[in-house]
Amino acid sequence: MDCHRLPLTEKPGIETLDSVLTSAPDHPWSHKRFLPEHVVFHHGVHASAGVACSDCHGEGYMKNHYGGEKFDMQTCLKCHRGETFKEKGYKPAATYCAACHR
C-alpha cells in the first residue's frame, strides 16, 4: 500500500504540491521558542487538566489566525490562583516559584 505516494487525482494542484514537497528541505519551517530558558511550560499538563486551547490562545486559531498572543507571569498566576475562569471551575494550581522556574 503506497496510496500516499501516488497522485490520487488529476488536479494540477496535486502535482504542484508533489513537486514542491520533493524539493523541500527536511525542515522547511524554523521554530522560534519565545519562552525564556528559566521558565517551564508544559502543554500536556494543562490539556490533561482540562484547560481548553482557546482559554489561553483565544479564538483566532479556529479561523487559521496563529500567533500574536501575549503571555506574562501575571496571566499564568491569575489562573493558577483561581482568579480567572471561575465559571469553568478550574482548580487553583501550584504558585510556588520552582513550579515553573528553574
Partner: protein, 292 residues
C-alpha cells in the same frame, strides 16, 4: 578654522563614534550565543584540582530521619532528599564532575582556582561529597531580601536566579558554605558551557547552589501529571545526576515521606548523620554510616 567650526566637527565625530558603537553592540548581540566554550578536559582537570585541595575534616553528629516540613503550605506526601552512604563512598569525585556537567557549573579563572574558590555545587569534605543540605529550617532563605532563595512545598531549597540581586547574605548565613557566588561573567570569559540544555546558565552577580536536580523533578512531575491528572505525584524513579554517576551507588536520592522510596527504606536500617553545623536545622540531605 574658527571656534564654532571646531566644536561642530568635534560633535560630529562624537556622534559618528556613538553610532558606530551602537552598530557594534548590535553585532555583539548576534554573536552573544557563540562565546568560546571550554573543552571538557578543563572541567575534568578543575575537579581534580578541587579534589586535591579538599578540606579534610567533616564533623558529623547523629540526626533522626527527616519528617514532613514545618513550613506553611508544605506537601504532606513529598519531601525530597538524599543520603550519602559513607560505608560505600570512597571519595572518587565522579559525582562532582557529573553535577558540573548536569547543571552547567562554570569554570573559575586561574587566580580563583589557586585560592580554592570553585563554583562546584558538590565538594569533597573529609573524603565524602558535601552539598547543600536543603535544610527544612533554612538559614539562607531567612536573610534573602528578594525572596530568590525560597522553599518548595516538597522540600527543595530552590534558588530563583532571575530574582537574585546578589546581596550574598544567604552565602554568609549558610553554615556549610554550600552557596557559590558568580563573581565572574563566566560566559563572556569563555568559562561556561551549556552541556545540558535543560538548565539555564547563570549570570554574573547571582548566587547558586545544589538544586537537588530540580529540573529533573520538574520534568518528571509535569510528565506524570500529564499521564495521571488525578493521582498524587511522589517523584518515583527520579535520580539526581550525582546519584546516577556514583559507581558504588553510595548516593541515594528519594522521598523521605514515601515508604516505597529507596531513601526511606535505607533510613530504616541505617544510622543517619549530618554535619554538626546543620544538624539542628532539619537537613534533607544526610549521611548514613553503620547499621542499627
Amino acid at each position: 578654522m574658527d571656534r564654532r567650526e571646531f566644536i561642530k566637527s568635534c560633535s560630529l565625530v562624537a556622534v559618528m563614534g556613538l553610532l558606530f558603537g551602537c552598530r557594534k553592540s548590535e553585532l555583539l548581540g548576534d554573536i552573544a550565543s557563540q562565546f568560546s566554550v571550554p573543552e571538557l578536559k578543563r572541567f575534568e582537570d578543575e575537579v581534580k584540582l578541587a579534589m586535591s585541595r579538599a578540606k579534610k575534616s567533616l564533623d558529623l553528629v547523629r540526626v533522626s530521619a527527616p519528617g514532613p516540613l514545618k513550613i506553611p503550605g508544605a506537601s504532606p506526601v513529598n519531601r525530597f532528599g538524599m543520603a550519602i552512604d559513607l560505608d560505600l563512598c570512597d571519595g572518587c569525585g565522579k559525582c562532582i564532575l557529573a553535577c558540573n556537567l548536569e547543571n552547567n557549573v562554570p569554570l573559575v579563572p586561574a587566580e580563583d582556582a589557586t585560592r580554592g574558590r570553585f563554583m562546584h555545587w558538590v565538594e569533597m569534605r573529609g573524603n565524602a561529597p558535601l552539598m547543600c543540605a536543603h535544610c527544612g529550617d533554612a538559614p539562607c532563605e531567612k536573610v534573602c531580601p528578594t525572596g530568590a532563595a525560597n522553599h518548595t512545598p516538597d522540600g527543595i531549597s530552590a534558588m530563583m536566579y532571575k530574582r537574585c540581586t546578589g546581596s550574598r547574605f544567604c552565602g554568609a548565613n549558610c553554615p556549610v558554605h554550600a552557596r557559590k557566588f558568580n563573581f565572574n561573567d563566566a560566559q563572556s570569559l569563555g568559562l561556561a558551557r551549556q552541556f545540558n540544555k535543560e538548565v539555564p546558565l547563570r549570570d554574573k552577580g547571582v548566587m547558586e547552589k545544589c538544586s537537588l536536580c530540580l529540573h529533573r523533578l520538574q520534568n518528571d512531575r509535569l510528565a506524570f501529571k500529564t499521564r495521571n491528572p488525578l493521582s498524587e505525584w511522589r517523584g518515583r524513579g527520579v535520580k539526581t545526576a550525582c546519584a546516577e554517576a556514583c559507581p558504588k551507588n553510595a548516593i541515594v536520592f528519594g522521598n523521605w515521606l514515601d515508604p516505597e522510596s529507596p531513601l526511606a527504606r535505607l533510613a530504616k536500617t541505617r544510622i543517619l548523620y549530618a554535619p554538626r553545623e546543620v544538624a539542628a536545622l532539619d537537613p534533607s540531605v544526610v549521611f548514613v554510616r553503620g547499621r542499627r
